[in-house]
């Protein structure tokens, strides 16, 4: 029998993981909700941003916070590039081709990263103390990442609700024909969305490199999970994705402690499959 204290620790770690997963899912979901294309390679863009931070810190001696800010810019640029070079030409293609084009990008990024930087695992060592709270150990690094992720999501929330561009972006996701009639240009909004989604990838990259080592196949570890969270929350539904991220993180964290790491993921995916059957529009969908 596992002592309750370990379970509590797993729950807290799950919450901390949930913050970062939510950030990943929100970026992907924003793009999906507006442009209606799933970027299969989204987490690979995050991995590129992680490489960016790694090299800025280790090679050019940037302080971590500055490298993190640069990572946001890098993410936004990558988002723009992906949209302009790959998404724009296939906007009118059948969904499977759109899916596969970003899937091709996934192969490209993974192997290009192998070519340039080999398969070495690289991490930015952040040596921060571990906090002890009544016998529970919490990594301070993870706590900081969690807080920053929450802050980034609040910023995204204000951008989407309080600015004109943000409101227009939400409008596109509701009705892409009507928005053109209202005088807004969907093409420009797509670009902004891709940049914002990319910037979220940049934030996520900066937060993830504090906790995990990056390698060319990093996207494979978090990619499928990120899609699951988006679908579970409802594709395009930001609030749903936020809560779904925490549910999945709990399942993985608790499953990892109770059974094994792989089984934690297996249970999470099985729960995902079952939930999709029960609630195809996501767990927070209103019944039609």
């Amino acid at each position: 029998m596992i002592e309750p204290i370990f379970l509590l620790e797993a729950v807290i770690n799950g919450i901390l993981l949930g913050g970062v997963l939510a950030l990943l899912a929100l970026g992907l979901n924003l793009i999906f909700g507006v442009i209606d294309i799933v970027w299969i390679a989204y987490v690979d863009l995050v991995a590129l941003c992680m490489y960016g931070v790694y090299f800025l810190v280790t090679l050019y001696g940037f302080p971590l916070w500055l490298a993190g800010i640069a990572s946001i810019g890098l993410g936004a640029l990558l988002g723009l590039a992906v949209h302009q070079l790959i998404i724009t030409p296939i906007l009118a293609s059948p969904p499977i081709n759109q899916l596969l084009a970003t899937g091709g990008l996934l192969f490209f990024i993974q192997s290009f990263a192998t070519l340039l930087w080999s398969t070495d695992h690289r991490s930015v060592r952040v040596t921060l103390p571990t906090i002890e709270l009544g016998g529970i150990f919490i990594s301070f690094t993870r706590l900081i990442a969690f807080v920053l992720a929450i802050l980034a999501m609040i910023a995204l929330y204000f951008f989407l609700t309080r600015t004109f561009t943000g409101t227009a972006i939400r409008a596109v996701s509701q009705d892409r024909e009507a928005i053109a009639l209202m005088g807004a240009r969907p093409q420009r909004l797509y670009l902004v969305t891709s940049a914002v989604g990319g910037a979220m990838a940049g934030v996520a990259g900066a937060l993830l490199i504090m906790q995990y080592a990056v390698h060319p196949y990093f996207g494979g570890a978090f990619g499928p999970l990120t899609f699951m969270i988006c679908v579970l929350g409802g594709l395009g539904n930001m609030v749903g994705a936020f809560f779904a991220a925490f549910i999945m993180a709990q399942v993985i964290s608790l499953g990892g402690v109770l059974v094994s790491t792989e089984m934690g993921y297996v249970i999470a995916f099985v729960i995902f499959i079952v939930l999709i059957f029960v609630r195809p529009g996501g767990i927070f969908a209103r019944r039609a």
Partner: protein
């Protein structure tokens, strides 16, 4: 020469390849062609679903169950691959039905279907990795050699040419199944379902039955392909025979060739394998990753510029020309 004659000549030529004196490269050329046969067969099986809008991103799961069940039954119980593959196919069909039934009952289609199947693929891959005592985990598992017992009973052969003909037979069998489906009522029903489920149901098409049938067929063929691939290389690995990577590779090859034509999946598979083999040999171990980089880039470019696939575009253009030909003025 009629079409039939042309194809007979082509087939005869392919069948005679092992008899050609290809010198030191012959073993390698056979190996590449065997890979093309078996992966084309798998691609064909995928296209049975894909062409009707059931875009599965989890065929790695079927491939993995087929391969691992066959290998493990032989390794641990000494069961002949004939029975092992049969059990593997049955297991896979069971898995496919467990997934397909709720998918069609609850109308999980489009993106959602793709992502559900992707999750199934990951579940199988992670289970293979997690059960490492049995499966060797992420290191993979080697097929126990049959030693002196190699032959038809164990499906292990010292001579590669046997697998060449097994591969060719299986490939032709896959094409035959595709052709039968193409001529059947199932095709009409599935196309109607792909267009509009509600309308299809209203004219009396039993949606769940057709969807489950085509999924089971596709899964069974994929499992057989997985079993043969594992038997041929005498090795199974969760990354090469299960999971998201291989699932995407299957889809790529098919879409690249064109999933709506009989030979599309084979053309796509042959090209992707030929391309990756060529790049691998050309660059060798000089620049690790460059072959895959070019591969990924080519895929993106093809999908942007040739959306209906290579074979699909070629036959489409040929048909348009044939249709426009006679009416065209001679001066043009």
């Amino acid at each position: 020469m009629g079409r039939r004659a042309v194809w007979s000549v082509v087939l005869l030529a392919v069948a005679l390849v092992p008899a050609l004196p290809l010198g030191v490269a012959q073993e390698y050329i056979w190996h590449v062609v065997i890979q093309i046969f078996l992966w084309s067969f798998v691609g064909n099986a995928w296209a049975l679903m894909g062409r009707f809008g059931l875009v599965s991103l989890g065929h790695g799961a079927f491939l993995g169950v087929g391969a691992y069940a066959t290998v493990l039954l032989w390794n641990f119980f000494g069961l002949t691959p004939w029975a092992g593959a049969a059990i593997a196919v049955l297991l896979t069909v069971l898995l496919a039905l467990v997934v397909a039934y709720p998918c069609s009952r609850f109308q999980v289609v489009g993106h959602y279907f793709g992502l559900v199947t992707l999750a199934v693929g990951e579940v199988i891959r992670l289970l293979i990795v997690a059960e490492r005592d049995w499966t060797g985990g992420s290191l993979g598992v080697s097929l126990k050699t049959a030693g002196t017992a190699s032959g038809l009973w164990t499906l292990q052969f010292a001579d590669k040419r046997v697998y060449y003909y097994i591969g060719m037979a299986v490939w032709l069998f896959g094409l035959w199944v595709w052709w039968r489906v193409d001529r059947s009522m199932t095709r009409a029903a599935m196309e109607a379902i792909g267009e509009d489920e509600t309308a299809a149901a209203s004219v009396g098409i039993h949606i769940t039955r057709f969807k489950m049938g085509i999924t089971a067929l596709s899964a069974a063929l994929t499992a057989l392909g997985g079993a043969l691939l594992a038997l041929y290389v005498a090795y199974a690995n969760p990354d090469t025979l299960a999971g998201i990577g291989v699932s995407l590779r299957i889809v790529f090859a098919v879409v690249l060739g064109g999933m709506y034509s009989l030979l599309g999946p084979s053309v796509g598979t042959a090209l992707t394998i030929a391309l990756s083999e060529y790049l691998r040999i050309y660059f060798g171990i000089k620049l690790i990753g460059i072959a895959e980089t070019i591969y990924g880039l080519t895929l993106i470019l093809f999908i942007i510029f040739l959306p209906s696939g290579i074979w699909g575009s070629l036959t489409g253009a040929w048909r348009r020309r044939a249709a426009a030909g006679p009416s065209r003025p001679a001066a043009a």
